[in-house]
Symmetry: D2
């Protein structure tokens, strides 16, 4: 199979890359030499960059922010990351993103990193939306709440 790198994967492509349950957003990439540390595996801090890449793609595709001056400001409040197994040179990996729950002005994004059919890392992060000038909370637009529920299967919370 030719891996369609750096582009949103269809459910079938995700399954053929070893993800048992397709995600609303998943993309494939390959480990680079410069991402290894002297222990010869991908450095812990590098995962944060990988998941930032898929998360920003998610924000753009879900139209949460295109990073223009008038777009809401996106702030990460908290992240929890679980390292299950290391990743090494030249491995093809898939990063994923979806919203799992949301409130009026905040929501939680779940991420996974898969390689060779096994789950290597999971991350969950809490995001807050602010007005473009950062002075106040920004309410999630109704269209986004609908997309969170219907596309991502996210649960609204009081």
């Amino acid at each position: 199979m030719t891996v369609p790198f750096l582009t949103p994967l269809t459910p079938d492509q995700q399954r053929s890359l070893g993800l048992p349950d397709p995600w609303p957003l998943a993309t494939a990439d390959r480990v680079r030499f410069g991402e290894l540390d002297r222990l010869a595996h991908v450095n812990n801090a590098v995962y944060m960059g990988w998941l930032e890449t898929i998360r920003i793609r998610y924000f753009q595709d879900w139209d949460i922010s295109q990073y223009r001056p008038d777009d809401p400001k996106i702030v990460i409040r908290q992240a929890q990351i679980d390292y299950l197994a290391e990743i090494v040179m030249d491995e093809v990996y898939v990063t994923t993103a979806r919203c799992t729950r949301f409130r009026n002005t905040s929501f939680t994004i779940a991420h996974e990193i898969w390689a060779g059919g096994t789950l290597r890392t999971t991350m969950s992060c809490v995001i807050v939306l602010l007005t473009p000038d950062g002075s106040a909370r920004f309410a999630l637009p109704e269209g986004l709440r609908t997309r969170f529920r219907e596309v991502d299967g996210a649960v609204p919370e009081a």
Copy 2:
């Protein structure tokens, strides 16, 4: 005050840099241009690198590992990071580390990042020790357990 960068800070130096309660290990550094992202603040992934730097210093100073072939293998299983306030260009910041609790073969390290007298970020991470070849769990040496209790104020758990 001349900041003693990149060297363990005494309790008095920590207080003069705005930390109300001194840590067993704390060092000062300064934000670099390349650590800013296009939002003009320190990128979230960069904090992971900063805390890796202080954690590896901690592992060396507490003699957990000097990263020689026969030293136990150190594996991070989980990290939780809370982003409280951003950090910007040229700010002087202090990173800290101490053990908060430990079991037979694992322990938890708490980190904080301070700048300008305010707490900007906290992280807690769960570390597991393995034998040098990575094949089995490695028990914390008695001297280390004593140091965790007496120097760091860590709590042993069953």
Copy 3:
């Protein structure tokens, strides 16, 4: 056109991505948010990482080194980089590599970075081969010299 990211591009794929003269090795990639600096363009230091990625792929594909313990040691002695035009968020770019000239134990690699049909950056670097333990110069194998001449069009020097 669907861009075949992270895989060696055929001459026709290179031309359709805007390279007038195909290279023996060229791959496409896309700018990531974390590669931008606070001036909102790709940071100068990041180009070095991009070209390291294609160069290591080149070393592997041309069988110069698979980075195993018994492979010759590859040392970069000198690099010259010319920044012609900046690269910004989400641009698709192509990095290239070929040998331009070689001696008994050293050779020169030329790199280019293209995006949107324009040349953005060029780099030339001088590489020296050493024995696996780094103690002496390592002569370029005859097969490699042939490949440099016939595939890359490189010029042997006295």
Copy 4:
């Protein structure tokens, strides 16, 4: 000797850190774990970041730009880097900067990296000044030309 990290070194401090001829700007730093690659030495691309850090400090201290909206735009056109010897974990290194020659709207910055009394890397880069909106060349102010000549020993060129 206590190393005064991250602060401009006096000529005597530079000599005691092994630089035979003091520079107008030099600062000390220490290698971090995350700057090593899987070959267990500082990665080539990392040097570019180190020299960016000292160069931006130089631009600020010489009042070329404070990176405010009305400051001239600084563009690197070309860099040549010579790797003389590797740098490894925990080494203390010193980066330096000075202007070597200048024209009406451009100048050359020389950099060196020293560690343990030996020269490890040199870099020379050509910088162009543009108007704040980037639309035209920006002439070097007379005060800067004087400083280049008198402090850095730079040579004006036609």
